[in-house]
């Protein structure tokens, strides 16, 4: 899981199976990546939250069969930003198309769903989606302090 340090743009890739229990492994990889690059704890927390929401959606809804699929998460540190890419071979789904739930409503009117993608949009600075060769590719960009050389 560890990749050799190759500044300036170091990428760590994690391939996980389409099971919820795999998300923890991704979280550990993000934490290790964060400490290697001296990223603030809050940023690591927010990236892990966004990844959990995206991966949970993919694992729960993207597949029409019961076969295990690979999902690839790539973390790349660039000057001033952390780029997180999630690639899956599930059915086409653009999270940017989903409207967030209305928040200024009473408890009884508040809808149950839609919260995960809303959180992603709130904690991630820039989201980009493309469908390419039968894969969903979601890029999440989080502005970050420049990497600290170690």
């Amino acid at each position: 899981m560890t990749s050799s340090a190759a500044p300036p743009a170091e990428t760590t890739a994690v391939t996980l199976k389409s099971r919820l229990s795999e998300i923890e492994r991704v979280a550990h990889a993000v934490e290790a990546f964060g400490s290697r690059h001296a990223l603030p704890a809050r940023l690591v927390f927010e990236v892990n939250l966004a990844l959990e929401e995206i991966l949970t959606n993919v694992i729960s809804y993207a597949y029409d069969d019961r076969v295990e699929h690979d999902i690839v998460v790539r973390l790349t540190m660039q000057p001033g930003e952390l780029v997180v890419q999630v690639e899956d071979d599930g059915r086409a789904f653009n999270p940017l198309d989903v409207a967030g739930p209305p928040l200024d409503v009473s408890l009884q009117d508040r809808q149950i769903g839609g919260l995960g993608l809303h959180l992603v949009r709130k904690v991630i600075d820039d989201l980009q989606y493309r469908r390419c060769d039968g894969k969903n590719i979601l890029v999440m960009i989080k502005r970050a302090p420049s990497p600290q050389p170690r």
């Binding site: 229990s21 809050r42 959990e52 949970t56 928040l103 408890l107 919260l115 995960g116 809303h118 904690v123």
Partner: protein, 111 residues
């Protein structure tokens, strides 16, 4: 994640420790909805040891609040760490839930 349950008269305090995420939210849901089905109407979720929450955990709180609200009951939360408070804020939960600084305040407030 660990869930423990304690009682203070008519109030049930559910303490959640660690990470509340998509892999374990079902256990939290069973606990909280089980209490409601058993007739409990005053619930405090003590988050002093909660390090992480995602939409899976928030969803359980929302479902519980809706059920209790329909029957005159109440669920409140206590002792949110900064990062949990932030998630509550951006999810719009801070205006829907009564958030108390301490567990004792929450127990007094939910009665």
């Amino acid at each position: 994640m660990e869930i423990t349950e304690t009682r203070s008269n008519a109030v049930v305090i559910v303490t959640v420790t660690g990470r509340l995420d998509a892999t374990n939210a079902h256990a939290f849901e069973e606990k909280v909805l089980g209490l409601i089905e058993a007739g409990e109407t005053r619930l405090v979720v003590d988050c002093a040891q909660l390090d992480y929450i995602s939409s899976a955990g928030l969803r359980v709180l929302l479902v519980a609040a809706k059920r209790l609200n329909a029957t005159g009951g109440k669920i409140v939360v206590a002792a949110l760490k900064d990062q949990i408070q932030q998630i509550f804020d951006i999810a719009g939960f801070s205006s829907m839930f009564q958030v108390y600084a301490t567990r004792d305040d929450a127990v007094a407030g939910v009665r």
